[in-house]
């Protein structure tokens, strides 16, 4: 990887995104968020603040929830990433997406991809969360529209229905 550096300063990175192996040409310190959005056209991850406060750019990185605006591309080398685009099972919404839709968990929608990935991560670790677990678990993802109540309801509903774990990329 490092030996593929060319005159531009960019290098080839290999990573698995939503189960598909990908090679992208990126600057080592380019933000993972930009690699996803601009090199791979996966625009589901959003930039809200660019400093890891709002959580709109949340993705799963080797199973951990990260702010992709804080991860340099180089760090993602060899890693496995799940974005919102990788969550639905074919044309079917997964249980969390369905619950967000039904409970009013998405209003303007800009925080929704990050929020759903954060909820997915929470339920993966703790399939039967209490309301306080949900409140704490989502505290890294800001939503200005909902006041969070219907998001909590959506996560609780998905948990009750035994939400499938996020699709673990191969």
């Amino acid at each position: 990887m490092a030996d593929s550096l060319d005159g531009s300063g960019r290098c080839d990175l290999s990573l698995t995104v939503n189960g598909t192996p990908q090679t992208v040409r990126a600057y080592p310190m380019q933000r993972l968020l930009d690699v996803l959005r601009y090199e791979l056209q996966l625009t589901g991850a959003k930039e809200g603040c660019g400093e890891g406060e709002c959580g709109s750019c949340s993705v799963l990185f080797n199973g951990a929830l990260v702010n992709s605006c804080l991860i340099p591309a180089l760090q993602a080398e060899g890693g496995s990433i799940t974005t919102i685009e990788g969550l639905a099972e074919g044309p079917q919404l997964n249980a969390l997406q369905k619950a967000f839709l039904e409970c009013g968990g998405a209003q303007c929608g800009i925080c929704t991809p990050g929020m759903i990935l954060s909820a997915s991560h929470l339920l993966d670790k703790n399939p039967t969360p209490t309301l306080d677990d949900i409140r704490e678990g989502l505290a890294g993802n800001l939503c200005r529209c909902t006041g969070y109540m219907q998001i909590f309801e959506a996560v609780a509903r998905a948990a009750n229905e035994g939400v499938a774990r996020p699709r673990t990329p191969a």
Binding site: K46, G104, A106, G109, I110, L142, C145
Partner: protein, 751 residues
């Protein structure tokens, strides 16, 4: 069809795209050959520009550079007074005022270029506060620093003073608040000589931007096209500002001949764009021995920043709401919007009402204390009743029972028992709890003759395949416009919700149904959608293609045949003012709003005297908003508004220095997270009041008005110390409480 669509929680129209990440926001869109644009801004609050110089180390030939002299039309953001330049021309009146624009294919290089433009100024003395502006030591706008004044007079206040048993005075202030939509402002502009200018953007009001671009770019109406794309929150923050950023991108696109995208980062969005107007309200009230309001004076002043923009309209709404949901036999309300050298303050959910109602509802608790009755009782004794008149002498014609609303809110919050419990428990611990009430109203739709002037038009269209499409410029930015308007059309046409969709707001495709503001969309635009849908149905009936009892399949077939035979089938409806509505714009008297939504909110608050932090532990939001057309969306609107209100009260402080926001990041401007908020319990009381489409009143702004006063009333109940300014942060509580000794406070507890 027998099933009703209205009144059910059908899923959000664009919801699927939002939960799958498929929804495309402005920053998700890239056009071929697109450049990125950036703005060079004023570093000082006020002065004249001496020189602009470009660092010779840069190859400036690579950049598109635009200054005021490149503007093809009028250098202003056309809105009300047209006083705000699009680019500063020789002088600046606030920090972050746009001076010069740059565009380049590489956004990273662009940022460095912005820093490589040096501007020298001759500074002039600035004004930063309402008090400074009042003193007029410098005239920074017009002849007296006043954007607008209003005077509402009802009855004889002099008589009230003479009859008063008590005269209760108070001064209340509110700070600036950032809308903090999670998606920053952004647009893309594209220009060619044949088609003219097209702008796609994150925005609330396509026709505001359309009007501004015609004037700025000197183009006729048919050469300017404005398209709203998926918008990631707005709250008023994308009402007027998009005309500015769209103007900038358009100027760069016209000069370069290439598409130009400008998307702000968080810091630029926070420091350069609008916020809620800071306010100061003074009350002086004549009250009887029994707590009856006899009359009074209210002075309501807002800080408009450097240009007039929407301040006159914000002031109007704040002034009209200043008397709250109470009967004033006499009152004199003076409203005033003043100029300061900060970026212009602008639209934000509630639009002046959260400021003046904060004052009114804090003042009611003060009156209760002076008279020696409970906060609930003082409100009950003064509530407006059907047949009485508001401060503008609008007669309440609907069957509203605010006493009943209050009773239910007190019951839902377990108010009396909790208040007694806290009074018992408070003396023993470091955590003091209290209960607070706010009762309020919010006028739906434009003020006074506003809707008549707007004369909104909407269309409903049958497409070639027989499906229905709504044509409105009303935008979706999370509140549910798409969904509720489709519900209304489906209901009117006896069709399933799935058979109706809504056109993307595009000024080439949709009529001007007015701006998406003022809680007017469901009530006013929705009613027009219903009329237009009825018109379309009548056309199909008259054609003989459709019988009055029909299935969705028959409707589809009839619409298809009509379009195939006669071409496009469209029905339009235009707003007409109802009969018997009177408004005097000069005296500010008459029917200010078609109707009001009413609410009583109760906050339960804990103040921890080891950290001086106030936390809301339970929140009851009860309102009368006519008929609820989509319960899930309506609950979401209320809970979201309450959360913003809690932020307004306890979290969100804009730190100013020399007229510039110093904490323009999410790390230091703190909004509530999921861990900070209490259960927000939302309830609706339907009292049979029928307005707008299928009985709905405006709802979007209402929940912003009540939380702050309810919370500060609860803090006073907890500590026995009054606070009359928001935001109320731990440092203020510390300062006030440490004046008394904590030990003494521990001993005295709450009430």
């Amino acid at each position: 069809m027998t099933e009703h669509v209205v009144g059910t929680s059908v899923p959000r129209k664009e919801g699927r795209d939002k939960v799958t990440g498929a929804a495309r926001y402005i920053d998700d869109i890239t056009l071929p050959g697109m450049l990125y644009g950036a703005t060079v801004r004023s570093q000082i609050p006020r002065g004249t520009i001496k020189t602009i110089s470009f660092d010779p180390k840069f190859d400036w030939n690579e950049f598109v550079v635009v200054t005021a002299e490149h503007i093809p039309g009028k250098n202003c953001i056309a809105l009300i007074l047209d006083d705000q330049p699009c680019l500063a021309d020789g002088k600046v009146n606030h920090p972050e005022e746009p001076i010069l624009l740059l565009a380049h294919p590489d956004p990273h290089l662009l940022q460095k270029a912005v820093d490589a433009v040096a501007i020298e100024y001759d500074p002039l003395p600035p004004l930063f506060s309402i008090e400074d502006s009042d003193r007029c030591s410098q005239v920074i706008w017009g002849t007296d620093n006043l954007f607008k004044t209003f005077l509402i007079e009802k009855g004889s206040v002099e008589d009230a003073w003479a009859k008063a048993d008590y005269i209760v005075e108070g001064e209340y202030t509110t700070g600036a608040q950032e809308q903090l939509y999670i998606e920053n402002n952004g647009v893309i502009a594209s220009f060619n000589a044949d088609q003219g200018l097209t702008v796609w953007g994150s925005l609330q009001c396509p026709y505001y931007v359309h009007k501004a671009l015609m004037a700025l770019c000197n183009l006729p109406a048919d050469k300017v096209r404005v398209v709203q794309v998926e918008t990631g929150g707005a709250f008023g923050g994308k009402e007027e500002y998009p005309s500015m950023i769209a103007g900038h991108a358009s100027l760069l696109a016209m000069k370069s001949g290439r598409p130009v995208k400008i998307v702000y980062d968080r810091l630029e969005d926070m420091t350069a764009t609008t916020k809620r107007h800071p306010s100061r309200t003074r009350h002086r009230t004549a009250v009887s021995r029994t707590g009856q309001i006899l009359g009074g004076e209210i002075d309501f002043t807002i800080d408009g920043g450097a240009y007039a923009t929407l301040s006159s309209v914000v002031l109007s709404r704040g002034t009209i709401h200043a008397g709250g949901p109470y009967f004033w036999p006499s009152v004199r309300i003076r409203g005033k919007a003043v100029a300061t050298n900060t970026p212009p303050h602008g639209a934000f959910r509630g639009f002046g009402a959260p400021q003046s109602l904060f004052a009114m509802e804090r003042h009611m608790d003060r009156i209760a204390q002076v008279v020696g009755i409970s906060p609930a009782e003082v409100r009950r004794r003064n509530f407006l009743k059907p047949g009485q008149t508001t401060t503008t002498e609008q007669t309440i014609r609907e069957e509203i029972d605010l006493g009943k609303l209050l009773d239910r809110a007190l019951e839902l919050s377990n108010y009396s028992a909790k208040k007694a419990q806290f009074a018992r428990e408070n003396p023993a611990g470091w955590i003091k709890r209290g209960m607070g009430i706010a009762a309020f109203l919010h006028g739906a739709g434009f003020t006074g003759s506003g809707e008549r002037y707007l004369a909104s038009v909407v269309g409903v269209e049958a497409c070639a395949n027989g499906s229905i499409r709504i044509l409105v410029s009303s935008t979706e930015f999370g509140q549910g416009t798409n969904t509720v308007l489709c519900q209304i059309a489906a209901e009117a046409l006896d069709l399933p919700y799935e058979n109706v969709r809504i056109a993307q707001p595009d000024t080439d495709q949709v009529p001007n149904s007015g701006p998406t503001v003022a809680s007017r969309t469901v009530m006013v635009v929705g009613n027009l959608v219903r009329s237009a849908a009825f018109g379309l149905k009548q056309t199909l009936f008259a054609s003989g293609l459709l019988g009055s009892l029909h299935s969705p399949e028959e409707f589809r077939a009839a619409a298809q045949r009509h379009v195939a035979t006669h071409g496009a089938l469209r029905s339009f409806a235009r707003y007409e003012a109802p009969e018997g509505v009177f408004w005097d714009d000069q005296k500010y008297r008459g029917d200010a709003y078609a109707t009001f939504a009413w609410a009583v909110y109760v906050a339960e608050v804990a103040v921890d005297l080891s950290t001086y932090t106030a936390t809301v532990e339970d929140f009851v939001a009860l309102q009368e908003v006519g008929r609820v057309l989509n319960p899930v969306l309506a609950q979401g609107q209320i809970a979201g508004g309450v959360a913003q209100g809690i932020g307004f009260a306890l979290y969100e402080r804009v730190v100013w220095q020399n007229g510039r926001m110093q904490n323009g990041q999410m790390t230091n401007y703190i909004m509530p997270t999921s861990a900070d908020l209490p259960p927000i319990r939302v309830f609706f009381e339907e009292m049979g009041n029928i307005h707008g489409a299928y009985g709905a009143k405006g709802i979007g702004e209402l929940p912003m008005d009540g939380p702050a006063p309810a919370i500060l009333n609860a803090v006073e109940n907890a500590l026995g110390t009054p606070f009359d300014s928001i935001p109320l942060l731990p440092e203020e509580i510390f300062e006030a409480v440490s004046k008394e000794s904590p030990a003494e406070l521990l001993a005295t507890g709450g009430e």
